[in-house]
């Protein structure tokens, strides 16, 4: 099966080869940084295109000059062996090619500096979101009228409205063992690092509703490649519905269902130690003690099923992928749950029955 | 390869030129550590305020001793140049001794700080303080070892009156270490505590 898949991939690549030669470089690349979908990506791109055009002109001139020189001044086969004129330099020419590049750069410098300040300033009426980088997933916190909403990996925002991200890096609620990440959603903005012990800011905005792809862009160790993210930009009405849903408590399954069995597994096993599910109903353990799921080590699962993917946005969220994940997470995504410091979700050795019940429960958390 | 000084392009002995280059590099070395220290000047990690622990009069005395050792170093070189090996040895020993007094003072100071709750791992401030001054102490120690080696070789007759360049070179190093200490004492102790 692997070889068939590999062959298929190579065929696909070969087919794309012909296509790509015709299409421009930008075709069919959803995470493209040169296909801006919002003003904070558009402005730098406009500037880049100007500079890129100048660079192409210089490129053509210099390479043309080199090739012309090579052809024109090649030693001919019938060369008489005399030496060419021994020029040592030409001050006028040299001043010229010092001054012209300096002038071009000075001209580019003005809009560059202007834009640096412009992009840094906080836009008016921006929606505020806290972003927390963890190895290897993203956490988002919203404040809606004093109530905090926690989500992960998929960042929901209203389309057409600027969003101000305040970003920091943490591990298990502490800056201890936290590392540097970089939040990057190319269609909506350039990247900004997320540094332990600091709060950095980034403005993003999507002109149109839709899904936009991004990922962590600062190497953060083992599963850096698996620290992907998405932005789900919603129309005004969808946004309001989303907010309302997030503010509501999580679904509590009816007794006796598979989902209810899943809830028991969640609270009786290790899950509750790291994950939060806010359903307003403490779980009653056999010994009579009450348990609340408020762990912040892993992603908040209150409305897990309202998101399209999980585990650093690398898997589509469905019964199949979720079951595979719960059976053995480190096999699905490289993590270090058993080393010190422990990073990521360990294999909980769940039985197939437990997995089935958990999947049903988690997928009911819309 | 030893080339007579008069045949070199700059009229300067190769070894001396190399020592100057090396010391230039050392300035950047200490410069980076001092910058780190300044960056963490108020990062006490909610633990002891290291600057309040500084005992300026005490450190002034040990700084003065180190400063004076530069004088004896100059005297050692002068004696060596004149061919007065006995005196040169004496001054070398005096220089090394003052260096040892300084190191002893540093060990005592470090011990006192640790007793008062500021260890190597206490805070960014303490880490950068101990590592900066510790590296300086290591440089002084290397200098002492060189001085004593020089003294031994003079005593054994392996270094004679004509080889005062060796004393001059070690002297260059010693003065450099001294100058670095003056900078450290000013930037690390005096200004923050003042």
């Amino acid at each position: 099966m692997r070889t068939a898949r590999t062959r298929q991939r190579w065929l696909k690549a070969a087919a794309v080869l012909a296509l790509s030669l015709i299409l421009s470089a930008c075709g069919n690349a959803p995470q493209s940084a040169i296909d801006p979908q919002g003003p904070f990506a558009q402005k730098p791109d406009d500037l880049f295109r100007i500079v890129f055009a100048i660079a192409v002109v210089v490129f053509v001139l210099v390479q043309g000059l080199i090739i012309y020189t090579m052809v024109k001044f090649r030693q001919k086969p019938d060369d008489d062996g005399t030496l060419p004129p021994q020029t040592h330099g030409n001050t006028k020419l040299e001043i010229l090619w010092t001054a012209i590049p300096a002038l071009i750069l000075a001209v580019i410098a003005v809009p560059t500096v202007q834009m640096i300040f412009e992009l840094d300033a906080e836009p008016e009426g921006a929606v505020q979101v806290e972003v927390i980088g963890h190895r290897w997933w993203w956490e988002y916190r919203y404040d809606f009228g004093g109530e905090t909403v926690y989500t992960a990996n998929e960042l929901a925002i209203p389309a057409g409205v600027p969003v101000r991200l305040s970003m920091r890096s943490e591990e298990n609620n502490s800056v201890e063992n936290a590392v540097i990440h970089s939040f990057w959603i190319p269609p909506l903005a350039g990247k900004m690092d997320v540094v332990p012990g600091r709060v950095t800011t980034l403005n993003i905005m999507a002109d149109e509703p839709g899904y936009y792809l991004g990922q962590c862009a600062e190497y953060c160790g083992l599963s850096h490649a698996n620290m992907r993210l998405r932005v789900n930009a919603l129309s005004a009405s969808d946004w309001q519905a989303w907010v309302d849903n997030q503010l509501a408590p999580a679904n509590v399954p009816t007794d006796g269902t598979l989902e209810a069995r899943g809830r028991e597994v969640f609270y009786q096993g290790a899950c509750v130690g790291c994950h939060a599910i806010n359903d307003g109903e403490p779980f009653l353990r056999a010994d009579g003690s009450e348990v609340v799921a408020a762990g912040r080590t892993g992603p908040d699962l209150t409305h897990l099923a309202s998101r399209q993917e999980f585990a650093g946005a690398i898997f589509e969220l469905n019964a199949e992928t979720l079951a595979a994940w719960l059976e053995n997470p480190p096999a699905m995504k490289p993590m270090r749950p058993n080393e010190s410091p422990a990073i990521g979700m360990p294999n909980l050795n769940l039985t197939p029955d437990e997995v089935e019940a958990l999947v049903a429960y988690l997928l009911s958390l819309t | 390869m030893s080339v007579p000084v008069e045949e070199t392009s700059l009229g300067l002995d190769n070894r001396k030129l190399a020592m100057w280059a090396f010391l230039g590099s050392e300035f950047l070395f200490f410069g980076a550590f001092i910058s780190t220290y300044l960056l963490y000047l108020d990062d006490f990690n909610n633990a002891v305020n290291g600057i309040e622990l500084f005992d300026i009069p005490y450190t002034s005395v040990s700084s003065f001793v180190l400063l004076m050792s530069s004088l004896t170093m100059v005297l050692a070189h002068a004696a060596h140049t004149k061919g007065d090996m006995r005196r040169a040895r004496l001054w070398l020993l005096a220089t090394a001794f003052q260096g040892m007094v300084f190191i002893g003072g540093q060990v005592f100071e470090f011990t006192a700080f640790v007793k008062e709750g500021m260890g190597l791992t206490t805070s960014p401030f303490s880490s950068s303080f101990f590592v900066l001054t510790g590296f300086h102490g290591a440089h002084v120690t290397v200098g002492i070892i060189m001085l004593l080696s020089l003294w031994t070789m003079m005593k054994m007759g392996r270094i004679g009156p004509g080889e005062d360049l060796k004393t001059e070179m070690i002297g260059l190093y010693w003065h450099f270490v001294d100058i670095i200490w003056i900078i450290i004492f000013t930037v690390v102790y005096l200004i923050p505590a003042g």
Binding site: N28, A29, V195 | -
Partner: protein
């Protein structure tokens, strides 16, 4: 150095072997050491290249499974460390070693034993780094080793990085002191600064950069090691430290380092282009001062590696401007090289082709570099394959093309054999095509959103990105084939044609002596009367102002060197064991620190100390010498 009077009877005898294996272990001859640097860095180039091929195989298609995440992370990290610290820097040292004394008319470098020490430190530093594989702890935190990842990660991987680079840095520092002293102080009579070959100028700038950059990275590496081993708080944000300290220190070293890597190649190209254009270098003073200017401004642009670190708009603006500024002297050089060729009679030999290739490819790297100075769009390009493309155009298209040019140019001088031009040109064209096929597409894959240092190319990034990645992978195999061709070209010279002393009608005085040069380089130290001294001995201007050969001035096959009188009493330095012995202590100390064993560290320290004292106490020369 003890006085000669006590030499006999000393336990420290100096070795005397001049041939055979032992002679290489104890040699202090700058030419032999240069060859050792060259051969060692070629071996590391093969290793670093194999690592790159594994990386490219993994990324040949989306969701590749050739390497595990951990293995990939080790491969790309070791590829970077190897190519920077074990290939390009030491291969430049190979050229410095071999050429500086020959081009300035000296018999050796200022400190021959220190020179041997630098080489051994390089070799053992490299072996130390690679020994990490045997402990299952190869560095995996990228060549920039950003804290706090390099502290927080479990395992000794980044401890090997920190100490390995520390050891290598010591060798580079020693070499820089040595070369600076040599260039400043050992020039032949009449060789003023403005008569120095351009390669010597660039060597001088590079070694000053090394002199001042190595201590900064040494400090950063000490801090990293102490954080790892002694739990200090230099980068621990939980204790209130600022992790960006590492980035500042690393790039204050790292950006001059970029020029350390590229300037030697610029020096080589500035030698090769005039020879094969049969014209002097256009605007000698401008090229020299542009090199020096790059060396100075190179200290003020480090934070352009940190535009997305959150430094704030003022700092990023300032560093954006200084970065644009540094493009100016670079541009000057490119135009000067092109106009060196303009109006000449170009002989398109292999070294010439590589030099022209350098100018063309480096221009591309320079232009993409200017786009990085545009801070807002750099926020898109930073840490993507666009940057990977950029610096490979500078370091491969630039540095390696220049170095290849130098290898072909000076090979006859070093080995006394001519290289087969057919194989050389085959190497050049495959190298050029393979290089562009590998790194050209990375501009697109980067702009289309592919970040660097990711072990998997996600399916989500789309077929276009996958296509460009496939091209890159194909390209790297062409480079591999090209390298084999290069190797064959070198091997074939064993039975090749003997090289005359001056096969290229060259301009500088290393071509004055035999090929290969005698151990003492010159029978008589030449007196320098002009820039391009050797050329002026061969040609003079006639009444009409045209350059014509000087009849007695030395035909190509009989340089003035032959048959002239010989300097009396040529003293060459004697070989020595102690640089090697001393170096053996360094990795031992390193293992002691990494595995927290005081005993091991002390043993290493004792070896080091013993070597150091023996070095100081050994006699100046072998016993029969006065």
């Amino acid at each position: 150095m003890a006085s000669a009077s006590v030499a006999s009877g000393s336990i420290f005898r100096r070795p005397t072997a001049e041939t055979g294996f032992a002679s290489w272990l104890t040699t202090v001859d700058h030419k032999k050491i240069g060859i050792m640097y060259g051969v060692t860095s070629f071996i590391f180039f093969i290793i670093g290249g194999l690592e790159a091929m594994l990386v490219r195989l993994q990324l040949a298609q989306a969701e590749g499974t050739v390497l595990s995440a951990e293995a990939y992370n080790q491969m790309f990290t070791m590829h970077g460390i190897t190519m920077v610290f074990l290939v390009v820097m030491p291969v430049a040292a190979a050229f410095f070693n071999y050429l500086i004394p020959l081009q300035i008319g000296a018999r050796d470098v200022a400190f021959p034993r220190l020179n041997a020490f630098s080489y051994w430190v390089y070799l053992f530093g490299g072996l130390f780094l690679y020994s990490s594989f045997f402990f299952g702890a190869a560095p995996n935190g990228s060549w920039v080793g950003y804290a706090p990842l390099s502290v927080a990660a479990p395992g000794n991987n980044m401890a090997f990085y920190a100490i390995g680079l520390q050891i290598l840095g010591l060798g580079s520092l020693a070499a820089s002191v040595n070369f600076i002293t040599t260039i400043l102080n050992m020039r032949a009579p009449g060789l003023t600064f403005m008569r120095m070959p351009m390669f010597i100028w660039m060597a001088l700038v590079v070694n000053f950069l090394l002199l001042f950059a190595m201590p900064v990275i040494a400090v950063a590496l000490f801090q990293l090691t102490f954080d790892n081993v002694f739990a200090t708080n230099f980068f621990n944000a939980a204790a209130g430290a600022d992790p960006l300290l590492w980035q500042h220190l690393f790039w204050i070293f790292g950006h001059p380092e970029v020029y350390i890597l590229i300037l030697p190649a610029m020096g080589i190209v500035s030698e090769v282009l005039p020879v094969f254009s049969r014209k002097p270098l256009f605007g000698y003073a401008a090229v020299a001062f542009a090199g020096a200017a790059i060396g100075f401004i190179g200290w003020g642009v480090w934070a352009h590696h940190m535009f997305t670190s959150g430094l704030g708009p003022v700092a990023t603006s300032a560093f954006g401007l200084s970065t644009m500024f540094i493009a100016v002297p670079t541009g000057i050089k490119i135009f000067n090289w092109v106009f060196t060729m303009w109006g000449g009679k170009l002989r398109l030999t292999t070294p010439m082709l590589f030099s022209i290739g350098f100018v063309a490819m480096f221009t591309i790297g320079g232009l993409s570099g200017v786009t990085h100075a545009i801070v807002p769009s750099d926020a898109q390009q930073h840490d993507t394959y666009y940057v990977v493309a950029h610096f490979h155009y500078v370091l491969f298209g630039g540095a390696l093309f220049g170095i290849m040019s130098g290898i072909y140019f000076w090979w006859p001088k070093v080995t006394g054999k001519l290289i087969d031009e057919t194989w050389g040109k085959l190497h050049f064209w495959t190298w050029l095509i393979g290089f562009n096929l590998t790194f050209g597409p990375m501009h697109f894959s980067g702009l289309l959103g592919q970040p660097r240092r990711t072990y998997v190319l996600p399916d989500e990034l789309g077929p276009t990105v996958e296509f460009w990645n496939l091209l890159s992978t194909i390209g790297v195999f062409i480079i591999a084939i090209s390298t084999v061709i290069f190797f064959i070209a070198m091997l074939k010279t064993r039975n090749g044609e003997d090289a005359p002393p001056d096969p290229w009608d060259a301009r500088t005085i290393e071509w004055l002596t035999t090929s290969p040069p005698k151990p003492h380089n010159f029978d008589k130290i030449p007196v320098i009367t002009a820039r391009d001294e050797f050329w002026h001995r061969k040609y003079a201007e006639d009444d009409a102002g045209h350059a014509v050969p000087v009849p007695a001035g030395g035909q190509v096959d009989a340089p003035p060197e032959a048959g002239t009188e010989v300097d009396e009493d040529i003293h060459m330095p004697s070989p020595s064991y102690w640089p090697l012995v001393m170096t053996l202590g360094l990795p031992v100390v390193g293992y002691g620190v990494i595995f927290k064993s005081l005993t091991v560290a002390l043993v290493g320290g004792l070896v080091l100390l013993f070597g150091m004292y023996a070095w100081q106490l050994e006699p100046l020369a072998e016993d029969d010498h006065h």
